[in-house]
């Protein structure tokens, strides 16, 4: 692992940066010329119409696109000053420090306890049983699901409601103590109450983590994020960044006419 260790005292203002990022699926360029820097301990929403490449961009930050055989990434993604696409970087190591939560809750078919402990174990956790118990509890508490599950830690994670399952998945992600959490439409499959709980949770998590969230829900982006990046699809169908700014500004006074058209529902 050649990415420098996390050191908050020496950390810059940006958790991760993309420069000249271009991502291809075979000969098709899915996103082009992305330059973006994400502020540390902030929540950034990635919005845009279907097919604009926002999920592809999100997955570039923990090399999840590598799992698609025909994908190819050009440009650099700097994490602690190191390009995570350099040949000497192990993508598995990247994913331990850049966690991910998906659209559909995907707990393992194991107990609630094991779902969370798994994250710590793959991260080389070497503590005692008591230490692991403490870590599981802390992660579940941080994910605002402890009160729901504390009396049934050894029941299947699949026995929980959709909203609880998603918070369990967030607990699993933060048990590895990542620095950055990528969320791909984490609340789109949830009811309104569960959605608001996830949004509240995201607000709490930003004290310790930097969060990037892809969402189709404009109100969610407006409610839950500090910064918003708007992507659109160009005539060659490649996604590109149209506007990036503070969420307050983007949703009240977007600078780009295309952003205005999109967020007011005139296209997309």
């Amino acid at each position: 692992m050649t990415i420098p260790a996390s050191d908050p005292s020496s950390g810059g203002p940006y958790a991760i940066e993309a420069h000249d990022l271009n991502i291809y699926y075979g000969s098709f360029r899915a996103v082009k010329d992305i330059d973006l820097r994400f502020s540390t301990h902030k929540i950034t929403a990635l919005i845009g119409p279907s097919g604009c490449g926002k999920s592809t961009v999100l997955r570039a930050f923990n090399r999840m696109n590598d799992l698609i055989p025909i994908s190819r990434t050009e440009g650099t993604v700097l994490f602690h000053g190191k390009n995570i696409y350099d040949a000497d970087v192990d993508p598995v190591q990247v994913r331990r420090r850049v966690g991910m939560v998906f659209q559909k809750p995907n707990p393992f078919p194991k107990t609630i306890y094991e779902n969370v402990a798994w994250g710590a174990r793959i991260n080389g956790f070497k503590g005692s049983k008591a230490d692991m118990d403490a870590l599981v509890e802390e992660s579940l508490r941080d994910a605002a699901v402890w009160d729901d599950v504390k009396d049934k830690l050894f029941q299947s994670g699949l026995s929980l409601s959709g909203g609880q399952q998603q918070r369990l998945c967030i607990a699993r992600a933060i048990a590895t103590r990542p620095e950055l959490i990528l969320m791909d439409e984490p609340a789109s499959a949830l009811d309104p109450i569960s959605t608001l709980r996830i949004e509240e949770l995201i607000q709490d998590l930003k004290k310790n983590y930097t969060i990037l969230i892809v969402t189709h829900n404009m109100q969610q982006a407006a409610r839950a994020s500090d910064y918003t990046a708007f992507f659109n699809m160009d005539t060659d169908r490649a996604g590109y960044l149209v506007e990036y700014g503070q969420t307050d500004q983007v949703f009240t006074s977007p600078r780009n006419e295309m952003t205005e058209q999109y967020i007011t529902g005139r296209f997309g």
Binding site: T252, S253, T259, E260, T264
Partner: protein, 232 residues
């Protein structure tokens, strides 16, 4: 895709224009009634305030409903925000109209100063024209026009200062008429404040169009619109 939302936004703007036109007309009528000692019209203008208040509340509630149902963003949000502010300004301007009407009734049969007869209509007409142009800027989303209107307030202020000085002279020469002079001064004040409220409307129009709220205080006005009434 958003036809019903657009229709609602247009309806809201139309309501503002309808209410604004009435306020404009009442500004002229109450001033004329004041000059001509027409207590009947003055009473009508006082009575009309209740309907203006009701419409202000209805437009405000309609705007809130639209926010709840459509969750507007960007330009739509700024438009609805501007509507909610502008409707409040129109309602306050009508309060000043009502105030002038009440003063008319208070004055009763006492003849008013000739200088009022000479200059108050021009002051009212300038304030009315400012209101008219600010509402035109609103409906046309015309930032430049909204930025030019506040300069017309100089005309209103100059007339205010002149009439105020005349009132002071009158009061000094006829100490028994202090109460009457005071009533005149309040009528003058109401008219002058109406024009100030119109500047607020212009500020919200600029915000609605640009997303930037900028107070257009004295000394920052652009040149007034060409060909408009100016006090010589």
């Amino acid at each position: 895709m958003r036809q019903s939302f657009d229709r609602e936004l247009q309806r809201l703007q139309a309501e503002i224009i309808r209410m604004g036109s009435e306020v404009e007309e009442h500004l002229t009528r109450v001033t004329t009634a004041f000059i001509e000692r027409d207590t009947y019209t003055a009473s009508q203008m006082i009575a009309a305030d209740a309907s203006i208040n009701e419409r202000r509340i209805q437009i405000g509630l309609d705007a809130l409903t639209l926010i709840a149902r459509q969750q507007p963003l960007a330009g739509d949000l700024r438009l609805i925000g501007a509507v909610m502010e502008i409707v409040g300004e129109l309602e306050r301007i009508h309060d000043y109209i009502k105030g002038i009407g009440k003063i008319s009734l208070n004055i009763g049969a006492t003849p008013i100063l000739p200088t009022f007869v000479a200059h108050m209509p021009e002051m009212a007409e300038t304030a009315r024209e400012m209101l008219h142009l600010s509402l035109k800027a609103f409906v046309d989303h015309d930032k430049e026009l909204a930025q030019r209107v506040p300069a017309m307030d100089d005309v209103v202020d100059a007339l205010f200062n002149r009439l105020y000085a005349d009132i002071l002279t009158y009061a000094a020469n006829q100490p028994r008429q202090i109460d009457h002079a005071n009533q005149l001064e309040w009528a003058l004040h109401n008219l002058e404040r109406s024009a100030d409220r119109t500047i607020n409307i212009c500020e919200w129009v600029v915000y609605m169009v640009t997303g930037v709220y900028h107070e257009m205080s004295m000394g920052e006005y652009e040149a007034p619109p060409q060909g408009r009434a100016r006090h010589e």
